[in-house]
Symmetry: C2
Subunit: 340 residues, 2 copies
């Protein structure tokens, strides 16, 4: 078939390094895709465009409907809007899907059995971006929750559980305090859960829920939550499984989907070729599965696992007895390629 | 000297059981206090008082200026206001201090060296309680942050670090998204930190900060954060140290202070006499230290540790090779008393 065109954003900081590594792997694996590079991020911001993205890039995105994106750096300063948020909201990417599982014993973790998918609402909540200054000393931010927004993400979580044979969906919000907003999310969860009688459902307040996730992640399966809580608990899950550097994510909308690592652009280690490309590789694997190239997705996944199992790792991952196998970003990619 | 009068709220669920146990210990240790019981919580709510507290209790609180409080149950329903929040806000209890440290090897934890104090802003943020319904399908909650609120809590954290010989204060907020609100908190932190040149200061975004706390708590010392983040990360810290059932907290204001466990009223196990009184005992220890009865505070602390070191534990705490030492709430208190 014809190659699927993907809008590719190389990002800032370590972005270009991990994107180059990831694209090499995609090419070597025979992924039937054609990258179309788009400009966004730091350079665009600093040229005076406070959104960090120009019309040409929007056109490519809207034409291709698929994005593979490396992390970007938002410059300091109140005027600059987060591109992550702009892309998610402008493109209606309502579901942020973040699978995290243990690679024990190849990656050190206290939780060898953890295998959880966090499904994070991706457009509403405090990320609505409505903040204002009332006086010199008083500022406010609006948390926005809508019924259709809750319904869409909760249904997505149960449909995901069904499609992937998952057994349980846990809802985490703070409705003992935010009775209207988080209360609505919880109420919608309870209502929709009865439509899926074969999938277990449970609800936890986010404070004790995230504590239990951090202490016993093996007790969780699919978690559905609102935007900010999802931001926090997905970093927790990824880090206790081994490293935030390993996790990829899918941002899913009705028409467009965007795939990215969950970590940031790490400007402090940029240009040193020590960054871990695994998060972006995992994002690319999710992308290939999304467009139906399941076999190639599996091939890359297995080669990535084999590389990690053989002890190769970038500097962020500590593995016992394997310090001679610490490799650079591109060497890591080459190890993956040689295992395809 | 004359006994210090304390307003004591027995609470709901497991509240009365753990309060009885705690008061026995205080008495046996010779704490120079006189409990004055106050009515608040479930029964008061259900009598038609949506605040859950009546004038008489307020009078006792305002007279005594000290509260020892067991967890309360807020009935389901939109009309009932959380007593925790009402007490904290009405009494100006701006600092919620939550020390968490490992009791390894006596309490199982992956983090034998952790010893962290979370200092949580306690009046503002999404806990301001301003929520409204705009349409049937759209609800909002207002996050409120003020400069004086930030200054007070940040200064409290640095003064605490100074007083207790702590080395580092870490600020955690999400100012890459909430540039005005969380931005103000961060900005105040940076400004005040320079007044304490002997104390190290660092800032982390709450997503990766809480992830690193969950994965490597031994790297943290004092953490200062806003209300909701503090709620979440203090449960995480307590649970990975062993159990949320172990942690006590101090709610500090200019005129009044309130001491409580950080866990909830656990109605599911109420009346079974299996609840862990340690959280409330630790709260009482913080209270005695606050009123200057330092020796008695230390005596109780040492007896509590000795009890735990001798292997006695309630059902919530798993300890290897000690299952014969699983005891009831009151038996646990008796073990503490016999070690005073
Ligand atoms: C970079 C930041 C805006 C983003 C977020 O907060 O969503 C990131 O933390 C993430 O989780 O994708
Ligand atoms: C019970 C609840 C209102 C309270 C809070 O959210 O502050 C509790 O979780 C706590 O941490 O003290």
């Amino acid at each position: 078939g014809k190659a699927i065109k993907i809008a590719v954003a190389k990002g800032d900081g370590i972005g270009p390094e991990i994107m180059t590594a990831t694209l090499h792997i995609l090419k070597a694996a025979g992924a039937n895709i054609e990258p179309e590079f788009i400009d966004l991020g730091e350079q665009v911001y600093l040229s005076g465009n406070t959104a960090g993205i120009n019309k040409e890039s929007w056109d490519i995105i809207r034409r291709n409907k698929l994005i593979l994106k490396a992390p970007v750096t938002t410059p300091q300063g109140k005027g600059y809007k987060s591109l992550n948020v702009t892309l998610r909201k402008s493109l209606g990417l309502y579901a942020n899907v973040r699978p995290v599982s243990s690679l024990y014993p190849f990656v050190t973790t206290n939780f060898p059995k953890m295998d959880v998918v966090i499904i994070r609402e991706n457009e509403e909540d405090l990320y609505a971006g409505i903040e204002h200054q009332q006086t010199r000393d008083v500022v406010q931010c609006l948390k926005l929750i809508t019924r259709p927004g809750c319904e869409r993400i909760v249904r997505y979580a149960f449909e995901y559980a069904k499609a992937y044979g998952r057994k349980k969906v846990t809802c985490m919000v703070k409705d003992n305090i935010m009775k209207l907003t988080d209360g609505l999310f919880h109420q919608v969860f309870k209502k929709i859960s009865v439509e899926y009688p074969t999938i277990e459902s449970e609800s936890q307040i986010i404070d004790i829920g995230s504590a239990k996730l951090a202490a016993h992640p093996e007790n969780y399966d699919v978690i559905v939550t609102s935007n900010l809580y999802g931001d926090i608990i997905s970093d927790i899950a990824a880090e206790i499984a081994g490293s935030v550097g390993l996790a990829g994510s899918a941002n899913i909308g009705a028409n467009v989907a965007m795939f990215e690592a969950i970590h940031g652009s790490a400007p402090d280690i940029a240009g040193q070729h020590i960054a871990n490309p695994s998060g972006l590789i995992n994002a690319a694997i999710l992308m290939l599965a999304h467009v139906g190239q399941l076999e190639i997705a599996d091939t890359i996944k297995n080669a990535l696992l084999a590389t990690i199992e053989d002890g190769y790792h970038t500097a962020d991952i500590y593995q016992k007895n394997t310090s001679k196998k610490k490799v650079s970003t591109q060497e890591f990619a080459n190890k993956v390629i040689s295992r395809l």
